[in-house]
Subunit: 432 residues, 2 copies
């Protein structure tokens, strides 16, 4: 079962997918050479939007939380890719500490943690779970809906190493995005591999850095493969020094939004797209779909009511929003039984290991499907993303999945570049 | 459907499989560090024998010919592993020439070639087939039973590069074992990647070199993991200067066989095994199960009749046999509906990508199932070899497959060591 692509404009999409298919050799070789230059993140996931005329990532998560939603048939792919990642990052490791998010009541998230634990164990690592929750003061068994259990243990700091009782792991794998900053316990762990590096956490990460890196990656890719990068790259801009409560910067934001809407309109005309352009304004440091709004006309930003201002001004962990990214909106034209379906692609090392659709029945195609408390039905990809088939139509499932995988890997590559460029030591040197 | 392990002595086997399960972390870490020291072959397959008390490889093929027998569900694993191999060996490659065996009438082999072509294409390489057959003087389309076709093209030598018409590939992948020696066309291809290196062909390869390398690999492994290497390693010896026709060396061979049978008997007593020991005498340079005989008593080697001497004295491509390897026989105690079943494990890079059983209804458990003209029914492994499950019995399919994968990877590692040690330049330096 694969969502239906419903758009008046299937032409340009088939054109994009066909171009990917026809140039698969050049694409794969380009990818191979890029990964010689950049260290792939241990894992990552990306939310894609498929508008028919544009297939683009709108988010790249370095702490993916939905491994439980992948097709079980692809578990061996995950294990093989995780082995590659461990060889690349921490070849001598025999044990690893997984630090999850603090969502101990979210059954879906706990199943993601359980799946990650089993993948890591299958690569041959001893795995334990260390929790940042203050209430975890002793080993605590959490029951999962499927009858399995997880044991969360309090973290123990020992010199420049982190562990749990009687467990001094070689490596620490974060599945916690550090939105609230780097806890004291996790600072300066110089004697262990910390994966991903802590500066990739959301306390420091900025969507705009990622967008800038993706912009360069897609420009290079477009040149190498012969496509207009706009077809896979949402335009972006930033706006700083905002205070939504005090209504500071409102006009500047509206002006920038207006400019971008105009530019999108021009591109739509070039490609004969008749849909209504929109942009998404997001907190530059935000996550979990908090601090996000969809705008079709810049005037919507002038005189926001209290509720709207509250919504935009605070993100996860209560952090105030002063900087936003303005991102070109990409319509979602994929639907399943009338419900909007948004693909999410999962990667380990530089391999695509599966994915799923977020299928949502209550939202429109230009709205954010990853918002707080949002319910979605996951629909696992039925086929892997690595088996394009030239004998089938460009939009046949293996080929649509291949196109997802290409764009997802570009987003992952941008994340690698972003992590390199935001490395604190490097930044210190640059400003010294 | 998984073959049944029928032996009075399941105890020791479960003990071995249980030991692998209990020590999976140590095993995987040991493997990871070994592969830091040695370059994995592009691909390889190994024939295993499972006697209940012993699980051991009896052959390691560097030109595997049964990719068509693998479970289709594992194709993505093959693609991912092949990507890893290409990154490791020839990262910049955009095109590859596959040189198959000359078996153009063997539908099974042709399907193997077709599967290899599709795996290579899915990694993003342009692929063409160059044939060593003199009668292929122009592009020749060969039809496969499943309706697909392959195009064989005559090889064209150009300076230090090999190709076919209008195709100058970056790399040459051999699926031809070069039993007849290195064809002039293929000598000194210094401007291309040749995979595997030509000295891994059977014109130069010796089973005894592989066995010696495997001996060392399993000794190290046994020490690291705490098992008696005999449990996974068939004893071997060599005998040179034989002439079966002239009956030269007969007595020396018989004496060596007698000695080995005595040693096996001692080991059987140690482990309480009541089965009858046997050895297999094989041409050291042979392949395809030619020049092979099973011996239970050394006296069988004295006064071989003409037919037996003929059988032993010539192998593939009509080469005469002067050197043999004497290998401890390993009983096959795996059966499917009463038929003997022998596992064959397939690997690409250092990953296990699947396997199948050779199921044969007419042969005994101590006979060679890979003999000329032998018919077998392939039964693809139903599960991957990378998902051991401690919650199931040590002999449950995922755990038996895991054990196969461990032993197969040891054989592959031995092949890496063997290829390194037999590198002509290295040998020249050693003798200089």
């Amino acid at each position: 079962m694969v969502p239906h692509l419903t758009t008046a404009l299937t032409g340009p999409l088939l054109e994009l997918e066909k171009h990917f298919l026809d140039n698969a050799c050049a694409i794969e070789r380009w990818m191979r050479t890029q990964w010689q230059e950049h260290l792939p993140p241990f894992y990552g996931s990306t939310d894609l939007r498929n508008s028919g005329f544009k297939l683009a990532p709108v988010d790249l998560n370095l702490f993916p939380g939905g491994f439980n939603n992948l097709n079980d048939a692809f578990l061996p792919l995950c294990v093989q890719a995780a082995q590659a990642a461990i060889e690349r990052i921490c070849v001598g490791a025999r044990s690893i500490l997984l630090v999850p998010e603090n969502h101990t009541r979210n059954q879906f998230y706990l199943q993601n943690v359980a799946k990650l634990v089993s993948i890591l164990r299958l690569t041959g690592l001893e795995v334990r779970l260390g929790s940042l929750l203050p209430e975890i003061t002793e080993p605590t068994v959490v029951e999962l809906a499927n009858g399995a259990t997880l044991t969360l243990e309090p973290l123990i700091r020992n010199g420049r190493r982190l562990g749990v009782k009687d467990f001094d792991p070689c490596a620490v794998l974060l599945n916690n995005d550090l939105s609230a900053g780097i806890p004291a316990l996790m600072k300066d762990l110089h004697d262990q591999w910390v994966i991903p590096p802590v500066h990739a956490g959301w306390h420091a990460r900025r969507k705009s850095n990622h967008a800038a890196a993706y912009d360069r990656v897609t420009r290079d890719f477009g040149e190498a493969i012969g496509i207009d990068p706009w077809r896979i790259n949402p335009a972006f801009d930033t706006c700083s020094g905002l205070d939504f409560h005090a209504r500071t910067g409102e006009q500047e934001l509206a002006d920038k939004v207006s400019k971008m809407l105009g530019e999108i309109r021009t591109k739509y005309q070039e490609y004969g797209v008749t849909d209504e352009p929109f942009v998404v304004v997001k907190a530059d440091a935000g996550t979990y779909g908090m601090g996000v709004m969809t705008v079709k006309d810049a005037s919507e930003l002038i005189g926001l009511n209290r509720k709207q201002r509250n919504k935009m001004s605070v993100v996860k962990e209560g952090l105030e929003v002063h900087d936003v990214i303005i991102q070109e909106g990409v319509h979602t034209f994929e639907t399943l039984n009338g419900a909007v379906a948004e693909p999410v692609v999962y990667m380990m090392d530089h391999y695509v290991v599966g994915g799923f659709y977020r299928v949502h029945t209550q939202r429109g195609r230009d709205e954010n499907l990853n918002a707080p408390g949002m319910h979605f039905e996951p629909l696992a990809f039925e086929a892997p993303c690595s088996l394009p088939d030239c004998n089938q139509s460009p939009d046949a499932p293996p080929n649509r999945f291949y196109a997802y995988g290409v764009v997802a890997r570009l987003a992952l590559l941008a994340a690698s570049v972003e992590i390199e460029e935001t490395e604190p030591l490097l930044l210190e040197e640059a400003t010294a």
